[in-house]
């Protein structure tokens, strides 16, 4: 049984370290926006959501190497499906929660 760490040797440690630092920075930024910025609450929510999207990109590209595959890249297809479903869930929930404010 081999006991070598199971990472792809061609990547080295550069990308994970950059990713690690970036994700910490993004988290700290979210905290700072919440506690120390002078945005109103809508602004804070928007800022946190934007930071979250960047965070997802960091995870996908720097840690999970989303564009690489030895095989059929199922994950790209399925991430697409995941994106559609997440958008449906978020947009649908917002729409449902508008309660009679829609025009009809």
């Amino acid at each position: 049984m081999d006991v070598t760490p199971q990472t792809h040797p061609e990547h080295g440690l550069r990308l994970p370290i950059i990713g690690f630092v970036l994700s910490i920075l993004l988290t700290v930024a979210a905290l700072w926006v919440t506690y120390h910025s002078h945005l109103n609450s809508a602004g804070i929510v928007t800022a946190i959501l934007c930071l979250a999207v960047v965070q997802i990109a960091v995870q996908l590209f720097l840690f999970m190497h989303v564009l690489e595959s030895d095989d059929v890249p199922w994950h790209v297809l399925l991430l697409g499906l995941g994106l559609i479903l997440v958008v449906a869930i978020v947009a649908g929930s917002i729409w449902i929660m508008t309660f009679h404010t829609e025009a009809y």
């Binding site: 399925l78 929930s93 449902i96």
Partner: protein, 657 residues
């Protein structure tokens, strides 16, 4: 001191309820009996080595199956108690509080601790064999999944003797389930047991998703996959995307309850409607999670027992995928009456109606498969045939309910109750029992005797119609769900009496299934060929019961119904193809591990700690979880090898060499 203990005990244990005292005694007796038998026959080591530490997908499947049947017994007893209470007007068989607890645990158990483990039992037993793999992609994670489910179920079942059961309905809506209206540990039990078993379900979803995409035998392209595996794939996609919504919403409600947050309390700016919304974002896909595998089972069984290939394979696959995607766009049909407005209701109503189309395609494909086939009426086929009219009625009433304006009339009435029992029992439970009968010889090496099996089916099926057809009627007469009792003079009495008689008939059917299993253990026909039904897919090409390593040599697949194609070839060439001796190689298999069991036990402590807000348990539990995670990450020696000699010996014992 003594009075302190007495006060504590009166809150901790559920007192003053004769039926629960009875349950206490029964639990104690059964526990003593188990401990006694294990000790007397010196089986503790066997239990630990063969079952508690196993990572073998077949054994995990068997444990899921046993758990599902046990939980079905408890959920069924709940159902009979409810039906007894509702048998006649003005009954006082149960107290109102007890009634509330029973309908809550009945719903929760039947969905999460019967339907889920039952489908997982078949996932585990069948999928690796059907795709020609030696185990699932992550066997260790698979064991974690099972034990997380098991301890989640234990936590929920503990509630009715210690602390009190949850009583806010299986959907547990705040504010009723919030800290203000539902004090005490009952709801916490619900939240924690669902969280814990939810982790297990999520892991199973990921595990089988990867298994199906990455572990297929060479040559098995996606469009050569058996339809059961396809349906499991659909269910896994649904699990992966929907369970996080449940985890999130239960987490938020837990924070409301134990940490004084206000996500769902309107006065403090929270939004209880958001709970309903998030709950059904999980809840609707969940019903497709449990019914898709049933569709897969029917596809296998109809093809096998009609001795024809499935009609319209491609359209079957397309329907599965269409159902998978559309089932995410229908969740608001569970709360049309919440008042989201006509735009929202129209959208979700139409999406709901659209889903009837792929489902209809599947039903017609099964019928066309049987058309001009040589149909053999065996026990699995009988349950499949019973399913079709059941699901036709359930589907038709579903379309009625999906019409948003008329749903204002049906909402929360017994019409709805009858509808979802018709599709959940008629779809999922019929499918799972059918699958159990079908794959039983593959798991245990003997067949469940046909005679008693058919008798059980007829009791169950007739009981089913007698129970639920009257409920449609009383629903239309205005009887609402979850009511404790009703006055006489409304004309509901006779219908409810009929329904109660029917439910006891179903109970007899269930007992007959259990008797059938026990009887067949001793007298069932032994399966010596490995292909007792003359079936079509790869799992029937190996001996029964399937050996530990599944396939001595991994097959190379060239056809859709690979095993049928091999048999045709043999018939035409008149030569029996044997396991090629020279191709047997040593097989690496995952080692057993006790960590998944201990890991889940630690989560049980965490759950128990949160339930009673005894945070020492939470700390100890999480410390155990983290310790076991660290220990596992330094575990390099996780594989063992089965030697060629051993494989030859075992294949020879099955007469394959």
């Amino acid at each position: 001191m003594l009075s302190g203990i007495r006060t504590f005990a009166s809150h901790f244990f559920v007192l003053g309820e004769p039926m629960i005292y009875g349950a206490d005694v029964a639990i104690l007796l059964v526990s003593f009996a188990i401990v006694f038998v294990l000790t007397y026959f010196k089986k503790w080591g066997w239990l630990w080595r063969e079952w508690l530490t196993t990572v073998d997908h077949k054994k995990i499947g068997i444990m899921y199956l046993i758990a599902a049947l046990l939980m079905m017994f408890r959920g069924g007893v709940d159902a009979l108690l409810m039906r007894t209470q509702l048998m006649l007007p003005n009954m006082h068989f149960l107290r109102p509080q007890h009634y509330n607890e029973i309908f809550t645990t009945h719903g929760t158990l039947m969905i999460l601790f019967v339907a889920m483990p039952f489908i997982f039992a078949l996932f585990n037993i069948v999928v690796p064999l059907q795709v020609g793999a030696r185990d699932v992609a992550f066997p260790y994670l698979n064991a974690i999944s099972f034990w997380m489910f098991f301890f989640g179920a234990m936590l929920l079942n503990l509630s009715f003797v210690i602390g009190g059961s949850p009583d806010a309905g299986w959907s547990s809506y705040p504010p009723l389930a919030g800290p203000e209206f539902d004090k005490g540990p009952g709801e916490n039990y619900y939240l924690m047991s669902l969280q814990i078993s939810g982790i297990g379900s999520m892991a199973t979803g990921i595990n089988f998703f990867v298994t199906i995409l990455k572990m297929r035998a060479p040559g098995m392209t996606l469009m050569r996959m058996p339809l059961f595996t396809w349906s499991v794939f659909g269910a896994c996609v649904l699990i992966i995307v929907s369970f996080p919504a449940l985890t999130a919403v239960l987490g938020l409600l837990l924070l409301d309850r134990v940490a004084g947050a206000h996500f769902f309390t309107i006065l403090s700016g929270g939004m209880p409607m958001m709970f309903v919304n998030l709950f059904w974002i999980w809840g609707h896909p969940e019903v497709y999670i449990v019914v898709l595998p049933a569709f897969g089972v029917f596809s296998e069984i109809v093809a096998t027992f009609s001795q024809k290939r499935i009609f319209g394979y491609t359209s079957m696959v397309a329907s599965i995928l269409v159902i998978t995607v559309i089932s995410y766009f229908v969740w608001a049909h569970h709360f049309f009456t919440m008042g989201a407005g006509p735009g929202v209701n129209s959208f979700f109503a139409i999406a709901t109606m659209v889903i009837a189309i792929p489902t209809g395609v599947k039903v017609f494909n099964w019928l066309f498969t049987m058309y001009k086939g040589r149909v053999r009426i065996t026990a699995p086929m009988l349950w499949t045939l019973g399913f079709i009219p059941n699901f036709a009625i359930g589907g038709a009433t579903g379309v009625l309910l999906s019409v948003a304006p008329s749903d204002y009339q049906y909402h929360n009435s017994y019409f709805l109750v009858a509808h979802f029992h018709q599709v959940l029992i008629g779809g999922t439970i019929y499918g799972m029992i059918s699958g159990m009968y079908y794959w039983w010889p593959k798991i245990f090496g003997f067949k469940l005797t046909e005679g008693p099996a058919k008798l059980a089916f007829w009791f169950f099926n007739v009981g089913f119609y007698v129970t639920f057809m009257p409920l449609y009627v009383v629903g239309l007469m205005g009887m609402t769900r979850r009511i404790y009792t009703y006055p006489s003079g409304l004309g509901w009495g006779p219908w409810n009496l009929a329904s109660t008689i029917g439910s006891y008939t179903i109970g007899v059917g269930f007992v007959l299934i259990c008797v059938n299993i026990l009887h067949s253990v001793f007298y069932g026909e032994r399966d010596t060929t490995g292909d007792i039904w003359n079936a079509r897919t790869l799992e029937w090409s190996i001996p029964s019961p399937a050996p530990h390593y599944n396939f001595a040599v991994i097959p190379t697949v060239t056809h859709r119904d690979e095993w049928w194609a091999i048999k045709e070839e043999r018939r035409s060439k008149k030569e029996a193809k044997q396991t090629p001796l020279e191709e047997i190689r040593p097989i690496p298999m995952p080692k057993n591990s006790g960590k998944p069991f201990l890991f889940s036990l630690c989560f049980f402590l965490v759950g128990f700690g949160f339930t009673f807000a005894w945070y020492a348990f939470v700390v100890v539990g999480f410390a155990g979880v983290i310790t076991l995670l660290i220990m596992r990450s330094f575990d390099y020696n996780t594989e063992t090898t089965i030697s060629v000699d051993e494989i030859r010996r075992s294949e020879a014992a099955f007469g394959r060499i």
